[in-house]
Amino acid sequence: MGILVDENSRILVQGITGREGSFHASACKAYGTNVVAGVTPGKGGQYFEDTVPIFNTVEEAVRETQANVALGFVPPPFAADAIAEAADAEIPLIICITEGVPVLDTVRISLYVENKSVRLIGPNCPGLITPGANCKIGIMPGSIHKAGRVGVVSRSGTLTYEAVGQLTNLGLGQSSCVGIGGDQVIGTNFVDILKMFNDDPETDLVVFIGEIGGTMEQQAAEYIKESFDKPLCALIVGSAAPSGKRMGHAGAIITGESARAESKVAALRDAGTVIIPTPADIGSTAKTVFDALH
């Protein structure tokens, strides 16, 4: 059911006693996610909301609770350490929500993680959700989601919610929704996620949301053209952004022709995807394609 997580996912929250960590750990629990442990150095032995044990180290938390997903809300100066600690404990899936991690920290940590054969999603991402498994591991509002057969992958946070909101409004549920993060360097890219959706029997259609900056969308287009077997609707945002300006996402800096919206759209169109004309048309475009399948 969906990708990356299922009913057997056991979530550990790093930074569970912080302002954001506690708020979102609570929201994940309320959605039905199996939050089994929290980690805050120095607060071991306490409980979060009277039920979730807090540990001083990830190693201890994994030993005691068999946690297999780490969700990180650790502040930027300590984010790399938190990811490394989770990787060292061999947690197979690490999701780093933290915004503002120094890029050279991410460069080093993504290499470290690669050598540990664990997967990092983020940093600076909203996380992922599989509504059919009642599993929300991130900061997205759970209520807008609905279980179904559309996969969503995006570099953005609120724009992913916008996409999901439009899909749900038109009765299209989601298999899994993944925000891979808006930074220049991230752990998991579009192609990684598309491969999983391709193999997921419960995903019929993918909504893909890219943006200006970098060439990750072109790499995705290449993969889609060669090996992706399912219909895909693609939106690229940022066509109205001026060149050379940083638009909030560190990732969305336009450098060179290939980083522009038009060249990404051209690559995706050439790969046979259905282009979503404007951000207002995400739901309606997906609905047309989805209905033609069934």
């Binding site: 930027p76 503002g100 946070g157 970098g214 300006k245 638009m247 909030g248 951000p279």
Partner: protein, 384 residues
């Protein structure tokens, strides 16, 4: 964060890279004296955070202190316009007075982050002293690239390869190798997003000198470089963008009349696209962030309203951590403080959207509500 050329050169010199002898001047008199000190001839370089200074009149060779004074006076206090500054230009408060160089060759050397390689990459070219983006576009084969492993760093085989491609031999190759290694140290130790020497000149005596330098720092790493924070020059930044940055609001000024208040960078970019597609022109990009308070939203709106071109404001909030009632209260507060009633197009969704709409409805402000992005486009058509 960008810093000035003279500051970047101080950094490079600290790491052992040759830079020309120079003096920083903030008056015509100082510029004259500096020219005298440097032997009577010099080049004056306006210190602004932008490239393309030569075309804009920001670089001038002077042959005597008498020539230097009026030349400096013309630059100081002026606004230098280049293709990177926008029509309003950047203020010149300092000129760098630098000794003249005997140039044999002009090279290019830089390190930046390469997203595809997931790490730093060194770029070198024999086509120095030119707009490197132009070189990249017209003759990409003339730019040599070496991806740098975060574990190994810049390796000797890579510097050998680069110096050979640059056509350097003997002592020049050795100097270039030293500079490449020093540049890598600067990049990693100071958490740069870009460090660039353009041109890196080879003098007629075969020495390598950094004739111009650019150094951009990763904003996200400034917390561990408190000494570098002091190099910030707010005068070089757009006033509103600087005010926003100090409040941790992502704001980029654009040219249109529709002020945009949005949460989330992706949704903010999508909002610009929808606005533009509707035939309207956004006045700004603004991401107020996730955990904003009423005060922060009010400050954000205040920044939007400080742009005199703004004739209407579009509020597009997908409530999550940021509740819609908080956003609504912030907008109304800022409108009251500014005592204005520019028309509002409001789209609220998610947490406490209904409460937010009630706050707007009872505020007495001119509000058009939109349920979705299509409604926003339609409403923008009506308010124009």
């Amino acid at each position: 964060m960008k810093i000035h050329e003279y500051q970047a050169k101080e950094v490079l010199a600290r790491y052992g890279i040759n830079v020309p002898s120079s003096r920083l001047a903030s008056s015509a008199e100082e510029a004259g004296q500096a020219t005298q000190d440097l032997g009577g001839k010099a080049v004056l370089k306006a210190q602004v955070h932008a490239g393309g200074r030569g075309q804009g009149g920001g670089i001038k060779v002077v042959n005597s202190p008498e020539e230097a004074r009026p030349a400096a006076a013309a630059m100081l206090g002026s606004y230098l316009v280049t293709h990177q500054t926008g029509p309003e230009g950047a203020p010149v408060s300092h000129v760098l007075v630098e000794e003249l160089a005997d140039i044999d060759r002009e090279l290019y050397l830089a390190i930046t982050i390469d997203r595809d390689f997931h790490g730093p990459i060194m770029l070198a070219s024999s086509a120095g002293g030119m707009d490197i983006e132009e070189v990249a576009a017209t003759r990409p084969r003339d730019i040599y690239m070496e991806p740098l492993s975060p574990i190994l760093g810049l390796m000797p085989f890579q510097t050998r390869r680069l110096t050979a491609k640059l056509g350097l031999t003997g002592p020049s190759a050795q100097s270039a190798t030293r500079i490449m290694n020093a540049l890598y140290k600067v990049f990693t130790e100071l958490d740069c997003s870009l460090v660039e020497i353009n041109p890196l000149i080879v003098t007629v005596r075969g020495e390598l000198v950094a004739l111009d330098a650019k150094l951009n720092l990763d904003d996200d790493s400034l917390f561990r470089h408190t000494d570098l924070q002091e190099l910030r020059d707010p005068a070089q930044e757009d006033e509103l963008e600087y005010r926003a940055a100090s409040l941790d609001i992502a704001y980029v000024k654009l040219d249109g009349d529709v002020g945009c208040l949005v949460n989330g960078a992706g949704l903010a970019m999508a909002t610009l696209d929808v606005t533009t597609a509707a035939g309207a022109m956004p006045a700004n990009f603004l991401d107020v962030g996730g955990g904003a308070t009423i005060e922060k939203v009010a400050s954000a709106v205040s920044i939007i309203l400080s742009d005199r071109k703004v004739t209407r404001v579009l509020v597009n909030i997908f409530g999550g951590i940021l509740r819609c009632d908080v956003a609504a209260s912030g907008v109304v507060k800022a409108y009251r403080e500014h005592g204005i009633n520019l028309p509002l197009v409001v789209r609220l969704l998610g947490t406490n959207a209904e409460e937010g709409r009630t706050i707007f409805a009872e505020s007495g402000l001119t509000v058009t509500f939109a349920d979705n992005l299509n409604d926003i486009a339609a409403a923008l058509g009506q308010t124009s």
